[in-house]
């Protein structure tokens, strides 16, 4: 297939996944902001960091309060990674290669985009935000279902899936790291109620509260939450599960292309190997934040390697 088409499939899936993540992040942040932590009027700072856009945010706003953060993360056209811009870019990619999309995929993206055009500031007010975020997550789920159930299992599918799982791995690392940034200013004791609810909010954001209870049969603890999100392959958003799918997608691509492998295949194998040989105790011993930062960097490097090998 055309490199440009593969690039569009890859990024279409990434932007849809990122849109979903931003909605989940906003949800978690809204819950956490009700718990009165962080500097006064700056409670949303960690969410901005977890979205990976503190640079552009502070170029436009002084304070990370709820109004500014929601506007910026959800609807600001100035933010290249707002929900709105993710959807805009996803659709631009979809439109640029309509022929590679199934009709269900196109409908999922196009209808989300058409409906999004009717949203107003009112829809992002605190009272309506949860409903609007549910709508966003629903559209992302629809897209995921559409590509998973209607695409032929050929290279176009593997690039789409690769984009989705690579983005998901990145997002999981970022949302887990929110907790690190939360601890910095208004830290009020590990093991307290606040601490408990913060970890729970992270689980809620990735729809994994019940999964947690099912797997650990225990109250929410930092070690277990991190273990779940990093190492448990039962959870489809865990880093290990995502990397399993990443390696699988690379294997299928190499098979489809006569066994030809490149630097990106080796890099994915190396990261996957690292996840296979470590456990959560080792991660905590070396520092969770340091581990996650490295993971975010490795995942970015992998994205670049994919582009160099296939997409240009």
């Amino acid at each position: 297939m055309l490199s440009r088409t593969a690039d569009s499939m890859f990024w279409l899936a990434r932007y849809m996944e990122r849109m979903d993540y931003l909605a989940r992040l906003l949800e978690a942040a809204q819950r956490m902001s009700g718990m009165g932590m962080g500097e006064d009027g700056d409670e949303w700072g960690p969410a901005i960091i977890a979205a990976g856009c503190e640079g552009p945010f502070f170029a436009h706003y002084d304070k990370a309060d709820a109004a500014n953060a929601v506007r910026f993360l959800a609807w600001d056209t100035e933010n290249p990674c707002s929900i709105r811009n993710c959807l805009e870019r996803a659709r631009a990619n979809a439109r640029a290669m309509r022929t590679a999309l199934t009709r269900d995929m196109w409908n999922a993206v196009n209808e989300a985009w058409l409906e999004a055009r009717t949203l107003t500031a009112e829809d992002f007010s605190p009272a309506h935000l949860p409903k609007t975020l549910d709508w966003v997550k629903g559209k992302a789920t629809l897209f995921n279902g559409a590509y998973a159930s209607t695409m032929l299992r050929n290279d176009a599918y593997w690039f789409t899936r690769l984009g989705a799982v690579l983005e998901r791995a990145d997002n999981t690392a970022r949302i887990l790291d929110v907790k690190y940034h939360l601890l910095l200013p208004g830290y009020s004791g590990v093991g307290g109620m606040l601490d408990y609810y913060q970890w729970t909010s992270i689980l809620q954001a990735v729809s994994a509260v019940r999964a947690y209870r099912w797997i650990y049969k225990d109250k929410v603890s930092p070690l277990n939450v991190a273990d779940l999100l990093i190492f448990r392959t039962e959870l489809p958003r865990s880093l290990k599960a995502c990397y399993g799918e990443i390696v699988d997608s690379f294997t299928c691509l190499a098979a489809a292309y006569g066994g030809v492998r490149g630097e990106c295949h080796d890099l994915a194998d190396a990261i996957n190997q690292k996840l296979a040989t470590q456990d959560i105790a080792a991660v905590f011993a070396g520092g969770l934040h340091e581990f996650l930062t490295q993971m975010i960097e490795d995942t970015a490097d992998l994205g670049d390697a994919v582009a160099r090998f296939y997409l240009r």
Binding site: L2, R4, N110, E111
Partner: protein
């Protein structure tokens, strides 16, 4: 004025009987609901027409009218003969003016008009494209003013668009009114993409081994016809490429793929001549492929339509098409030309200036209905302004009588009323012959009395039916089929269901 349903004497014409019965039996509220549903369907498919210069909604819908236009099988047979004849002559003309120039030497067409024409492509002189075809896809715009009176309004030999509307209009009609199609035997049109692919493959360069690789070259998603490009590529199962996806190495065209460079044999391009190759044409073009013309002339790729084909559809050349038909085919034209005054001629200019209030004046290089004066509908002030432009640069204009275009019943805010229509059939010319799917795109002026059907000027479209010959044999066959069907019992095995 000729109405295609009511005729001139108010008698419903035979082809329209089914539509008349249907309209009589359908309450207005149902038509309104169906009209709204049609719009939703078009939005959902994403079949929009982008006019970026207008501001506002960059992806607006072309209005669609739910009442089909119907042509009888004999009417169509006549039209089809005329279209084949005309397109054959246009291709012969193009081969000639880039080759031996016999028609110019014979003095049938003024040499200066051809050779100094901006659409005349120097790179094509002395070159015969694969299969000897220049205009592989021709859109011949036809208007009608009476039961037997069809006129060709203009020829489009470059990159005519609109065929996706023809196909999607039919798809939407079949979804909205399945019953209607069971009552009328309408010739199907869905094989167009297949015909187009066969046509393109038939002109693959001789050096191409095995099945040719075809690609559709689009200017990209900001082009007004982008939807059509994606639609056709998808329906043909060929790659939709942009200039950046292609590269020429050693006079061979390749596309950049996830597995490296892959050869391209036939390029169906929807990019204008000027932008095709920055080395041969406009050096600032970002839409084309450097070296494409070199690869073309080396015989390593076919380009459809051929560069320079536009010289045949120039509005000043149009006047000479009947002469081409006589010259190359030795036949009398089946479809008439509209009488045309070439304003470059001082006598013609004087006549045109004297009769502005009854003529349509067009720019010879204009397209899409812009820069056009419809004399009878223009204010005195506008006619006076136009006369100044005309005097300043007469050779840029031609004039034609204002034809009383036929009308077809059309559904609007005031109910069903006649609106003016034209027809763009699409003629495919391959190395192995001409293919035409029955019908074409009917464009309709949505406002009362308006004669401007162009979509960029607010015109709409409607489904165009060509009725099939009533064939008694096939009817009895389908009847016996349905009888045997009704006798058979359902024989599938039962589905499993949950045990508790």
């Amino acid at each position: 004025m000729f109405d295609e349903m009511h005729g001139q004497d108010g008698q419903i014409r035979a082809a329209f009987h089914t539509v008349r019965d249907w309209l009589a039996a359908t309450p207005r509220a149902v038509l309104e609901a169906k009209q709204a549903e049609a719009e939703r369907l078009f939005r959902r498919i994403g079949i929009t027409f982008a006019v970026y210069s207008e501001g506002g909604d960059p992806e607006r819908l072309i209005p669609f009218d739910i009442i089909p236009r119907v042509l009888g099988s004999e009417e169509w047979a006549h039209l089809e003969r005329g279209l084949r004849q005309r397109t054959a002559a246009l291709n012969a003309f193009l081969n000639d003016v880039y080759g031996k120039r016999e028609i110019l030497q014979a003095g049938k067409v003024p040499a200066a008009l051809v050779l100094a024409n901006p659409a005349y492509c120097q790179h094509m002189v002395g070159f015969t494209p694969p299969g000897g075809v220049f205009t592989h896809v021709a859109g011949i715009d036809v208007v009608r003013i009476g039961p037997e009176d069809f006129y060709v309004l203009e020829d489009n030999c470059r990159t005519p668009s609109g065929v996706s509307y023809m196909i999607e209009d039919r798809e939407v009609m079949m979804r909205l009114f399945p019953d209607l199609f069971s009552r009328a035997s309408v010739a199907p049109i869905s094989r167009y993409p297949e015909d187009l692919l066969e046509t393109l493959c038939s002109v693959a360069p001789e050096r191409c081994e095995g099945a040719p690789t075809v690609a559709l070259l689009t200017p990209g998603q900001y082009n007004s016809a982008y939807y059509e490009h994606t639609f056709l590529a998808d329906e043909m199962g060929v790659e939709l490429v942009e200039g950046v996806d292609l590269v020429v190495e050693n006079e061979v065209v390749y596309k950049r793929t996830t597995q490296g460079l892959k050869r391209v044999d036939v390029l169906y391009r929807r990019v204008d001549d000027d932008y095709l190759d920055p080395e041969a044409f406009r050096p600032d073009s970002m839409l084309g492929v450097a070296g494409l013309m070199g690869a073309y002339r080396a015989g390593n790729v076919a380009i459809a339509n051929a560069p320079g084909a536009g010289v045949a559809d120039d509005k000043a050349i149009y006047v000479y098409v009947p002469e081409m038909i006589r010259f190359y085919l030795g036949e009398e034209p089946i479809l008439k030309n509209v009488p045309t005054w070439d304003c470059a001629d001082p006598d013609a200019l004087a006549y045109v200036l004297d009769h502005l209030e009854e003529l349509v004046v067009k720019e010879t290089r204009g397209s899409g209905g812009s820069g056009m004066l419809v004399g009878p509908h223009a204010s005195a002030q506008r006619r006076a302004d136009f006369a100044l432009k005309l005097r300043a640069n007469p050779s840029a204009y031609i004039a034609q009588p204002t034809l009383p275009l036929s009308t077809c019943p059309t559904f609007g805010p005031e109910g069903v009323a006649g609106r003016h229509v034209d027809l763009r059939p699409f003629v495919l010319c391959g190395g192995d012959g001409i293919r035409i799917v029955p019908g074409g795109l009917t464009r309709v002026a949505m406002t009362k009395g308006s004669l401007v059907v162009n979509s960029s000027q607010g015109g709409g479209t409607k489904d165009t039916w060509v009725l099939m010959e009533p064939d008694p044999q096939s009817q009895s066959q389908s009847q016996s089929l349905s009888q045997s069907k009704s006798k058979s019992r359902p024989s599938g095995s039962q589905r499993q269901s949950q045990g508790r």
